[in-house]
Assembly symmetry: C2
Homo-oligomer: 249 residues x 2
DNA sequence: CGAATAGTGTCTGTGAGACAATATATG
DNA sequence: CATATATTGTCTCACAGACACTATTCG
């Protein structure tokens, strides 16, 4: 029996010495303040790509899967208290070019992380031992002006496109806003991600179907008080349509 | 300088002995015949999961990325002449649970592959050295009746959902028919994937905007001859909406 | 009061979906 | 001619988007 299994093993995995790689996760951590989409970056101190911006990340440990590693790194690298920020983490894509890290073969499973904010202040990054100066930066400015290490520009771009697409047909945008929120907060998330100015009236009508009215109101600096909502349905039907700016790739 | 780099290396990659994994690709290969969606499976001869169906796959080599490995395995495991079938391959997701293969730590990057058919015959699988009895099976029947090895049921389900979602707003369905095709062929793809019966008239009107009329016609066994089209736009605007059956998840 | 904002009302155009009508092929 | 299919036409309903309007609050 044992011999059979061993034989079978060899049959399935022909090469006795199979290739092995180092497995990491990279994180695109998004949050929105004042209608501006921000992400967490780390300024690289050493080679390669010294001085460039990089995404937080780290190794996947032997006893965890990639998603678990992403959550752990999110906590370690950013020093965030994730319970307070109702984080959402999902897998994006895997980057496996043999040349993506000049030092060694590193395959990275990129993840998208969304943190809730009150629309005024970004989650505080209290640098832990790992966190070498992790800080928030406006995503669109970074993409326009900054050099990004490794293939992190590709990862960031893909993360942005994923988010922009996903909020069309889901209430994923609510992950970037407190559990109880006013419609203007949610609308600002859409504006930040889509670089748009959605009509407040139409937005109200289309969203309220998927939301629960708490009955409470919240005062703004000026104007009428806004109703406080919570999410009822995770999916939007019919979907919201992204206005012209780059709708198709 | 050399010392600095070494020092920096250690700074970035703290653990001297970083964890390593075996990296593989798994393939979900789809094709459509007579309005039925099929996929390629391999009946497992040995443990674990003896007798269960598995997806084709294999190791990612040291000098290639996952997508390249997927193309290579598609050729090797199925013995297909890919040029003839205008294959489309894209990354799906990465499966990294430490227990997904009881023998060792294997991380797999799942890929979706689409093969074009003339709607009558499936691409012939000429088993190469690797291909231990790879064969086509109807996807919905397999999901209903068969045991699937490892986490391949999850992978297959995710592939199906990805395809079903993607053909809503792209002409990805055209990857499953010849380069020049009649509308009924394309419609049969939608019916196979969505398990639907789309109205032929409405389908014609919505599709023709994204297609180029070749001017030629093709005769059917009965009825009027159908116009032959090619793809003009890769994206559908406005998108096609999937009818009720399982629209949301 | 004036300015700003929330939420509703209204109108118009587009298009989806159901189905009829017409044209074209086979046997 | 009977039947099957492609393609176009027609009608109705839903809704998106633009924008006006009302209500509510702050200074």
């Amino acid at each position: 029996m044992m011999a059979t299994e061993e034989q079978q093993f060899l049959e399935d995995y022909e090469p006795k010495e199979y290739p092995s790689v180092a497995l990491t996760v990279d994180l695109v951590v998004f949050a929105v303040t004042d209608s501006v989409l921000h992400a967490v970056f780390i300024r690289r101190g050493g080679r390669p790509f010294r001085g460039a911006l990089a995404l937080p990340g780290g190794f996947v440990k032997p006893d965890e899967d990639a998603l678990h590693a992403a959550w752990r790194e999110l906590e370690e690298e950013t020093g965030l208290d994730l319970g307070r920020h109702r984080a959402h983490v999902e897998q994006l894509a895997t980057y496996s070019s043999p040349e993506r890290d000049p030092r060694m073969r590193v395959v990275s499973v990129a993840h998208l992380a969304l943190l809730a904010t009150d629309s005024r202040t970004l989650p505080g990054l209290s640098p832990g031992s790992d966190a070498s100066a992790a800080h928030w930066k406006p995503v669109h400015e970074v993409l326009a002006d900054e050099e990004l290490a490794f293939d992190h520009r590709d990862i960031l771009t893909e993360a942005l496109e994923r988010l922009a697409g996903k909020i069309e047909y889901t209430l994923t945008a609510a992950r970037l806003v407190p559990e109880e929120f006013a419609l203007y907060q949610l609308r600002h998330v859409y504006d930040a991600v889509w670089n748009s100015r959605l009509d407040a009236g139409n937005f109200t009508r289309k969203m309220t179907g998927a939301l629960t009215d708490t009955g409470r109101k919240v005062a703004r600096s000026k104007g009428a008080p806004a109703t406080v909502f919570t999410v009822k349905d995770e999916y939007l039907s019919p979907p919201l349509v992204r206005p012209a700016a780059g709708a198709h790739r």
